[in-house]
């Protein structure tokens, strides 16, 4: 469905954001995770037709996005929520969404009204649709962003860091909405919050320094780190060895560390059930070790 072959993107002469990325993405919800600066946004922007790749091939639903025709064909089935969504503060939510619907080619008035009513309700904006966007909170603006991405019945939904800056309730609500959408179209979720992936994606990739470090299901990444996750209680000192610290919890008589990596000999370590976050930290750790 989405085929990415040897995709490279270089900004200027020196900054290589993507270094030969190969990915095949099918239907459902696909998660792309990686640290800041990994190249996630660059990849998303290339897929959305905003950036031209330096080298490589990208085909979406059989359309080559480096050609004008292919790009337009992809955009006609695309819903995109950028990391920073800009809105016209002078427009009401309804005016703005109607404008987006027209640009997306929903020209039939009845169909447009139907979609607008449905999506406004889905995004929980029914009571606020007639208010100017300048009066909206960050969470409400994010919901308007989701609503505009869903207009026009997209077959591909690209959402870049959708949950950053949202409160926990809004985050869960948004994740559920995206999961629901994944039943109808391909959803590409880019995030640096591993929890977003673990809660909603059945397929994922980890990107680091412009390269794909991992490609598979969240379950596979968790299995890859099984037997390498420990908890260690100390009096306060950090455990020795090369294990990465996933979390730290202050106890009454010391500190409990959650570690990922080889077993620590300096302190008694208890093996624990791995999580996706552990797998992610382990991958990052391995990448650093490989580079060293």
């Amino acid at each position: 469905m989405i085929s990415i072959i040897q995709l490279t993107k270089t900004y200027g002469k020196k900054v290589q954001a993507l270094r030969g990325v190969d990915l095949e993405i099918g239907s459902g919800m696909f998660g792309l995770v990686g640290p800041n600066g990994a190249g996630k946004t660059t990849l998303m922007r290339i897929l959305a037709g905003l950036l031209r790749p330096t080298a490589g091939k990208v085909s979406i639903f059989g359309n080559n996005i480096t050609t004008g025709k292919g790009k337009l064909a992809v955009k006609s089935v695309l819903g995109y929520l950028p990391q920073e969504l800009g809105l016209y503060p002078d427009l009401t939510a309804f005016e703005f969404l109607e404008y987006v619907a027209l640009l997306k080619g929903v020209t039939d008035k009845k169909e447009r009204q139907k979609q607008l009513v449905e999506i406004i309700e889905l995004a929980g904006l029914t009571g606020d649709a007639k208010h100017r966007l300048r009066t909206f909170s960050g969470g409400m603006k994010r919901r308007v962003g989701i609503a505009q991405a869903l207009l026009g019945n997209p077959q591909l939904l690209i959402v870049d860091e959708p949950t950053s800056g949202l409160d926990p309730e809004e985050r869960v609500r948004l994740r559920n909405l995206l999961a629901e959408m994944a039943g109808r179209c391909t959803v590409l979720l880019s995030t640096h919050i591993v929890e977003d992936i673990s809660q909603s994606c059945n397929d994922m990739a980890v990107l680091h320094q412009g390269r794909v470090l991992f490609r598979g299901s969240p379950r596979e990444l968790i299995e890859a780190v099984r037997g390498k996750v420990w908890t260690v209680a100390t009096k306060g000192e950090q455990p020795d060895g090369g294990a990465g610290i996933v979390s730290t919890m202050q106890l009454q008589d010391g500190v409990q560390y959650r570690l990922v990596g080889e077993r620590v000999d300096s302190h008694p370590a208890m093996p624990v059930e791995p999580s996706l976050e552990d797998g992610y930290i382990w991958l990052m750790q391995q990448s650093r070790l490989d580079q060293a």
Partner: protein, 310 residues
């Protein structure tokens, strides 16, 4: 069909913004007031003479009939003569329209950078919209706002002129003069405003903030005035007007000029015209303007394609 709807959607939104943000509207109101006042200057300063001329003395009646003119032609002569004064004023006041050439680019050059400022640029380019449709929508929306204000200002001019005439000499503005001002607006004003709007809107693709665009907008305005004056100037060196106004004036006739022609035995024109220009030169001016517009639009389109992948 879809392309047309997209262009109209952008144009409609831009039209709305032009009124909510105000700059093009304010500039058009100022230019309208300036030009309207200029057009009324000469007739108003001579109004007392016209007032006293509305009734004839016995000597005038005798002189009038000596020329073979009928007495019922006299009110027509006075009414159209006052109208001719308004028309004559356009010779003196048309250059004030160049204020629109200078200032409109400053006001309209921010239309495209506004999408960068609001952050809407990103998602706009992910819709099935081409750069050409985007540019067309931005230009048409801004132009529509400019033309609506211009039409209101023209209406205001007619209203004020007629109120003044009715309260002083008890005539409406002559139909000849009214028609002239409508022609002047459509054939002279519309292309000028369209160019000024295009000269502002289209180079806006180069800028990402409104502040960065203001000074270049002023430079574009100055270049527009220079371009217009040097390329389209009328053959008369004393009068700062373009070929369209010159053409309309050389072809202007009224009841008063017909009576004058009867008396003097020669065709009367208002411009002391020594060199006549035909419709060909006016069409050439429009063609040159169209070519300049297409060049500007083409360059803006190429820039979007090359720099923004749009």
């Amino acid at each position: 069909m879809n392309a047309v709807r997209q262009v109209l959607a952008i144009a409609q939104t831009e039209f709305r913004f032009a009124f909510r943000r105000g700059a093009p509207v304010i500039i058009m109101i100022l230019v309208g007031l300036l030009v309207g006042a200029g057009m009324m200057m000469a007739p108003l300063t001579n109004m007392s003479n016209w007032q006293s001329a509305t009734s004839m003395t016995p000597e005038q009646i005798q002189k009038w009939t000596t020329y073979g003119l009928k007495l019922e032609e006299y009110p027509i002569f006075i009414r159209d003569g006052i109208g001719d004064m308004f028309v004559y004023s356009s010779i003196l006041a048309w250059w004030e329209m160049f204020a629109a050439l200078l200032l409109l680019p400053v006001a309209t050059i921010v239309a495209i950078p506004a999408d960068h400022v609001f952050g809407t640029w990103e998602w706009l380019r992910t819709t099935p919209l081409t750069g050409a449709r985007y540019l067309a929508g931005k230009f048409l929306g801004t132009l529509a706002a400019v033309l609506v204000v211009a039409a209101v200002m023209l209406g205001l001019f007619f209203a004020v002129a007629n109120v003044i005439l009715m309260t002083t000499v008890h005539f409406w503005l002559s139909s000849y003069a009214s028609l002239y001002f409508i022609e002047l607006s459509l054939l002279g004003g519309l292309p000028l405003l369209a160019w000024a709007t295009a000269a502002g809107t289209l180079p806006g693709v180069l800028f990402r903030s409104r502040r960065a665009a203001i000074f270049p907008g002023l430079v574009v305005g100055l270049l527009s005035v220079y371009f217009w004056v040097s390329a389209f100037r009328s053959p008369s060196s004393e009068m700062l007007m373009d070929k369209v106004v010159y053409f309309l004036l050389e072809n202007y006739h009224s009841g008063a000029t017909a009576i004058e022609a009867k008396v003097l035995g020669q065709t009367i024109t208002l411009t002391w015209i020594t060199t006549r220009i035909g419709i060909g030169q006016v069409l050439l001016m429009y063609l040159a303007l169209l070519a300049a517009f297409l060049l500007l639009a083409g360059l803006a389109r190429l820039w979007l394609q090359w720099k923004e992948n749009f």
